[in-house]
């Protein structure tokens, strides 16, 4: 049977028994490659697709009859293969392709879905549509014309949409006598432009779509070209590693809850895995709520699933009965996306109605929809020159622009570069319900980190932090200095408060505002409602971290003296500061347990040993020492004075004082 395609005309079924054919089809681990084709009008895109289908024996007899009939009517001698891919009546009448059309073909290696995107002025919108799900883009360049503005546009959009593989087909080589120089020049020109873009994998192939050179079969006319023909490349390009199998992301679409008559206790969260590999037993967090739980089971109609990975559609059951619904995203505890309602995005405006400041828009992202509070157009990008135009405040059809979006409620997202599912969004006009824009989230300037809290309460989704970077800078100018947080951690009795208080005193002497936050003191007021179990300790740290951050932001040096035994809690405190670009120093006061116990200033160790105090750090509860503290004190027999000096040195070094 023909190597390409299953539909070879003239191939007889008898050659292979039907059971054999069936088995061959069923056993073949065929995968799916989606590609988009881009080209300016008349570059030969339709001809190329027609050629791919025709030469790979995918054109069925009646379709061919239709093309022959239509070619005759148009009075053309040769078979016009472009007619194979030309769908709608208006298009046939006007001879242009209006909308994205999808084509299907298969070879023994792969199944292909072609998103055929047209090349007229609505091009950008259509290409974004067709390319959004593509693994690969074919960019057509007319050999006679070289790299035109349009070709650059196509390349830019491909890179914007993170299409992992790009093939530049230099077409109509027959019209330039199949000259190698022409091809090389175009390669060079294109490369020069592509170097300014993010394009992981670009391949160049010289072809003649009309004559079939290097499309399915190797060209006889271009012996100088050593690479494979286009179809071979499409069949073999490696796409398996394009998925994100690292970051577990599971946006919940729908809750499966049968009535009591079937199973009153069954409750599963249905969705499509957007990233990572999920397994029963995994500890997970449900965002944006922040509840921690464990995956009990992963269900499918076909039975339990041991490992779920993209793009599987499954249903997840959790061990705890917590509030999860459409719009929640299930992730691993140690690998969390961003939860925020402000972020930067690149958008393509797709509506004939321009962006209007007063209009109400919605954003749909994974399975959440939020109101848009504000859209700030930062700049528009001229896709040919890659220049930024900052003098714009509106967007019209086919514009590409960087915007700052502020939403009424937070999204759970990654940058598009990291994950095409959790990094993409559409904008909808609330009045017309039209989809007006498509956007990709950028990984810069995220203004709020997830700051996961053990207690699960580190969320203030609907209230945005009002202090901005500019006011911080103004404050700094006015005060002449910045604040910072010094976080003293260590066992009870290690000497944290002693050192912290001494540093506070020295700073005040220098005329610098400093303020000590003592764990015990805070437990009298702000944290008076908290106990000493793991969750309460996490919450204690979280609140203290927030107070410290506010102090630091106000220009004060906050000195936190807190046992804070868990590394994760301290890490969260640190990231809270990092998000706002505030200085945070972890100071480990590392006195041996015996020493602390001997000092026992508050009699705690004695009570713990006497069994009066459960969960005392160092006795009945663990202490996780820092592994990368900014400063470690207490172990080398220094005096308090010397230790204070070392802390001050650190602050000098980092430009705080």
């Amino acid at each position: 049977m023909n190597g390409h395609g299953a539909h070879a005309p003239g191939a007889t079924v008898e050659a292979e028994s039907s059971a054999d054919v069936f088995r061959r089809l069923a056993d073949r681990p065929v995968d799916l490659l989606r590609f988009a084709t881009a080209g300016s009008v008349d570059d030969g895109k339709s001809t190329l697709i027609g050629r791919l289908l025709y030469d790979s024996k995918q054109v069925l007899a009646d379709q061919l009859a239709h093309v022959e009939q239509a070619s005759r009517r148009k009075g053309e001698g040769v078979l016009d293969l472009s007619l194979l891919t030309d769908g709608l009546r208006a298009e046939r009448e006007q001879g242009i392709t209006i909308d994205v059309a999808y084509r299907y073909f298969a070879t023994a290696q792969r199944r292909f879905i072609i998103a055929d995107t047209p090349g007229h002025e609505q091009y950008t919108r259509n290409m974004v549509t067709g390319a959004s799900t593509a693994d690969l883009a074919i960019v057509l360049v007319d050999a006679r014309k070289g790299v035109l503005a349009q070709s650059k546009r196509h390349a830019f959009i491909s890179s914007l949409l993170g299409i992992p593989h790009v093939v530049v087909c230099v077409n109509k080589m027959d019209l330039v006598d199949f000259q190698e120089e022409v091809f090389n020049e175009i390669v060079e020109e294109f490369d020069a432009f592509a170097a300014r873009l993010e394009m992981p994998d670009v391949t160049f192939i010289p072809i003649s779509a009309l004559l079939g050179d290097n499309v399915v079969d190797r060209s006889e006319s271009m012996p100088w070209y050593q690479g494979p023909p286009l179809l071979y490349h499409l069949e073999h390009v490696h796409i398996a590693s394009d998925r994100n199998l690292i970051d577990v992301r599971f946006p919940v679409q729908w809750v499966i809850r049968p009535p009591a008559t079937i199973d009153a206790d069954y409750r599963a969260y249905a969705g499509q895995v957007a990233g990572g590999i999920m397994r029963p037993g995994d500890e997970v967090v449900v965002l944006p709520g922040g509840q921690r739980t464990t995956i009990a089971d992963i269900d499918s109609y076909d039975g339990p699933v041991e490992e779920a990975f993209p793009p599987m559609s499954v249903a997840v059951r959790l061990t705890d009965d917590i509030d999860v619904g459409r719009g929640s995203t299930i992730v691993r505890t140690h690998n969390q996306p961003t939860v925020a309602n402000r972020f930067e995005a690149l958008v393509c405006w797709m509506s004939e109605q321009p962006l209007q400041p007063g209009r109400r828009y919605l954003v749909k992202h994974t399975t959440r929809t939020a109101m848009v509070g504000k859209v700030d157009v930062r700049y528009r990008i001229d896709v040919e020159s890659l220049r930024r135009d900052e003098e714009v405040d509106t967007l019209s059809l086919n514009d590409l622009a960087r915007v700052h979006l502020e939403l009424s409620s937070p999204l759970v997202f990654d940058s598009y570069r990291r994950n095409r599912v959790t990094g993409s969004l559409i904008m909808i006009d609330e009045a017309t319900n039209d989809t007006v824009a498509a956007g990709v989230i950028l990984d810069t300037e995220v203004e709020e980190a997830p700051a996961p809290a053990r207690s699960g309460t580190e969320r203030s989704p609907n209230v945005r932090w009002q202090g901005t970077r500019t006011t911080r800078e103004r404050r700094r100018e006015a005060l002449g200095h910045i604040g910072a947080t010094l976080w003293f951690t260590g066992l009870p009795g290690a000497g944290k408060s002693t050192v912290a208080a001494a540093v506070e005193e020295r700073l005040l002497q220098m005329g610098r505002p400093a303020f000590m936050l003592d764990g015990d003191n805070l437990r009298h007021g702000l944290n008076g409602d908290l106990g000493f179990d793991e969750a309460a300790r996490a919450e204690n740290v979280r609140r203290t971290a927030h107070v410290a951050r506010l102090l630091a932001e106000s220009g004060t040096v906050a000195l936190v003296s807190l046992v804070s035994p868990y590394a994760a809690d301290r890490r969260n405190a640190a990231s809270l500061h990092e998000t706002d670009e505030l200085e945070f120093f972890e100071v480990f006061v590392d006195a041996p347990l015996e020493v602390c116990e001997q000092r026992d200033p508050k009699g705690l160790y004695a009570r713990a040993r006497a069994g009066e105090l459960a969960g005392m750090t160092g006795v009945g509860a663990p202490y996780e020492p820092p592994t990368a503290a900014d400063l470690t004190l207490g172990s080398s027999g220094e005096t308090v004075e010397e230790e204070v000096e070392r802390v001050l040195d650190l602050l000098r070094e980092r430009g705080v004082i």
């Binding site: 079924v13 995968d31 009546r89 990975f309 793009p311 919605l362």
Partner: protein
Amino acid sequence: MPATYHLPHLRTLEAEAIHVMRETVAEFERPVLLFSGGKDSIVLLRLAEKAFRPAPFPFPLMHVDTGHNFPEAIEYRDRRVAELGERLIVASVQESIDKGRVVEQTGPRASRNALQTVTLLDAISEHGFDAAFGGARRDEERARAKERILSFRDRFGQWEPQKQRPEVWSLYNGRIHKGEHARVFPISNWTELDVWQYIAEEELEVPSIYFAHDREVFARDGMLYAVSPLIEMMEDEAPFSARVRYRTVGDMSCTGAVESDAATLAEVVAEIAATEITERGQTRADDRVTEAAMEDRKRQGYF
């Protein structure tokens, strides 16, 4: 397989279709699934099971009954619905005719196919459905190749190819105004071969007319039609017996059979894999009338 975390193409298509179904029920208030007893809608039912079991489907099923069905398809339909324990609504073209909503065509080429559109739209508005799942595929026909997975119909049930919403990534915009509805095609990206392969892999039962059987037929326009009281034969047409099977299960008056010996699923898959003529071109008279036939019917609100 899990070692490489690789999903075969059919399972990828399946996962995407399930995603579309779940998005639809989440974003619309009153969906319905159009079930004809044909192979595409049989696949839809299995996908619905995969998407929503162990719960009942969050939508009823609906069949637009032309009254000119293959009895095998109706028998299968009722059995399958009972097996699933789901609710079936039957919208009847005969009733539309009796109520004077449509006028029955007459003559040898009479077909109720076109009348279905009115019955369908009436039923959609009567029940207040805002989304209807259909089993259409983009490989069937040139106009379908450009249709969205979530395809909007205006207040009159009409499709405007120029005004389709952009459909990017797998972000479906399910917002509509009152009175409008959406047709949802979860298996848009499947080919006929995919459908058969899936039916085989899932071991789904299909109506017996999909397999080779002996039938009294007559030839017209290069197609074979079943001899039945529903179609008037013309003078020059003569019945004969042939071994045939159907590739689609539509209205008897416009669905033709193909000569075939494929009597099992494996044989059908093998036959499709080797076929040289598209499904619609081979067996659907309704697409042949004009070059833009399907597009015209779609604009009016056809499936």
